[in-house]
């Protein structure tokens, strides 16, 4: 993804068009690109950044909400600093997801009491369905960060309960009950 210099000053939070033609960001990096980046090849490091950024932006935006930009930036800084130490390039996705989830929850907890909706409305003009975007943002803002995290990992990322438990470093039974509560809370708050 090419960064857009003409977006407003600083980092922004956006939502994508709710359409079957706008799938969640794909993860498109080859082992060769990852290994070249690990060796310090600047162009390959840029490719890895391009490849990871949309996906990390979605993880952090969905879990950390208005703290998403800070969480995404800190996630990617950790990734770039520690990439050389990653033993298996094929484990990049799970490694980055773990960092992103942890950073997103940490930043969300820190900013838990700040309002969300007004901030998101600043990005009007890039969103094609503002009412759906606002509904999602409002519902998510009323959930706890760990509830948003489990919804993202299970329902958006498609992880199994065992994988999600490992990602969040909690027991499998805890994941099951947390997911149950999160889905229930999302549904109850969804506009009728």
């Amino acid at each position: 993804m090419a960064p857009d210099p003409n977006q407003k000053k600083g980092r922004e939070q956006k939502s994508r068009e709710p359409s079957s033609e706008s799938p969640p960001p794909a993860f498109v990096l080859t082992s060769d690109q990852i290994q070249a980046a690990q060796s310090g090849d600047l162009i390959a490091m840029g490719d890895v950044l391009d490849g990871l950024m949309p996906w990390v932006g979605r993880l952090c935006g969905s879990i950390a909400l208005d703290a998403g930009p800070d969480a995404a930036q800190e996630t990617m800084i950790q990734v770039m600093r520690d990439l050389r130490g990653l033993r298996d390039p094929d484990s990049l996705r799970s490694w980055v997801r773990r960092i992103a989830t942890r950073e997103a929850i940490r930043h969300a907890e820190r900013r838990r009491r700040e309002p969300l909706v007004d901030h998101i409305e600043e990005s009007e003009g890039v969103v094609l369905d503002p009412s759906l975007r606002r509904d999602v943002a409002r519902v998510l803002s009323e959930l706890a960060p760990d509830q948003r995290a489990i919804l993202v990992l299970r329902d958006l990322e498609g992880l199994s309960e065992a994988e999600a438990a490992d990602e969040l470093n909690v027991a499998r039974g805890t994941i099951k009950s947390r997911l149950h509560r999160a889905r229930d809370a999302f549904r109850k708050r969804w506009p009728s």
Partner: protein, 172 residues
């Protein structure tokens, strides 16, 4: 999107509100300066700095992006640039060192997009990024480094970047 009968839904399975709204979940995009800061963090041998120019983004970036005409005007370690290949945002170019006749040509691989420029040769790495600070000013981020020479030479790159900023401020 609201279920006809919420009481019939099983909370252990994803339901229609979550499924229908999945593409509307919030996402984050970082601008080129933020992304370049991330890359620089992964290059401990590189010096990095940023400034704000009193010129709008289009003016700043049209100057920076004209590598053949303008790079040698502000970058003291370059006397001339020749673009050899261009494909999309990828460029291969040769750059000549500061001693116009005596310096050898050095091959660079480049990624150039609006607000974003990465340059890599066997000797070093360069990054430049810009974003509008407001309608009349532009934030500019720049790093230079050499993995080959390591951190020893980092202060020299830091000094060079400050000198680039002074020259760019006069040229833009």
């Amino acid at each position: 999107m609201t279920p006809d009968d919420p009481n019939e839904m099983n909370p252990d399975t994803p339901d229609r509100p979550i499924e229908a709204a999945r593409y509307a979940w919030p996402t984050v995009e970082l601008d080129p300066v933020d992304q370049m800061r991330i890359l620089a963090a992964g290059l401990p041998h590189a010096a990095a700095n940023e400034t704000v120019f009193d010129a709008n983004f289009d003016r700043v970036w049209s100057f920076i992006a004209d590598l053949e005409q303008n790079t040698a005007r502000f970058e003291a370690s370059v006397s001339r640039i020749k673009i050899l290949e261009r494909s999309g945002d990828r460029i291969v170019l040769d750059a000549k060192g500061p001693l116009s006749v005596a310096s050898p040509w050095i091959r660079f691989d480049v990624v150039l997009r609006p607000g974003w420029c990465l340059m890599r040769s066997r000797l070093g790495e360069v990054g430049m990024a810009a974003r509008p600070e407001d309608e009349e000013r532009t934030r500019f981020f720049h790093f230079e480094g050499s993995a080959l020479l390591g951190r020893v030479i980092k202060p020299l790159f830091a000094w060079n970047i400050r000198r680039d900023f002074v020259k760019l401020r006069k040229l833009i």
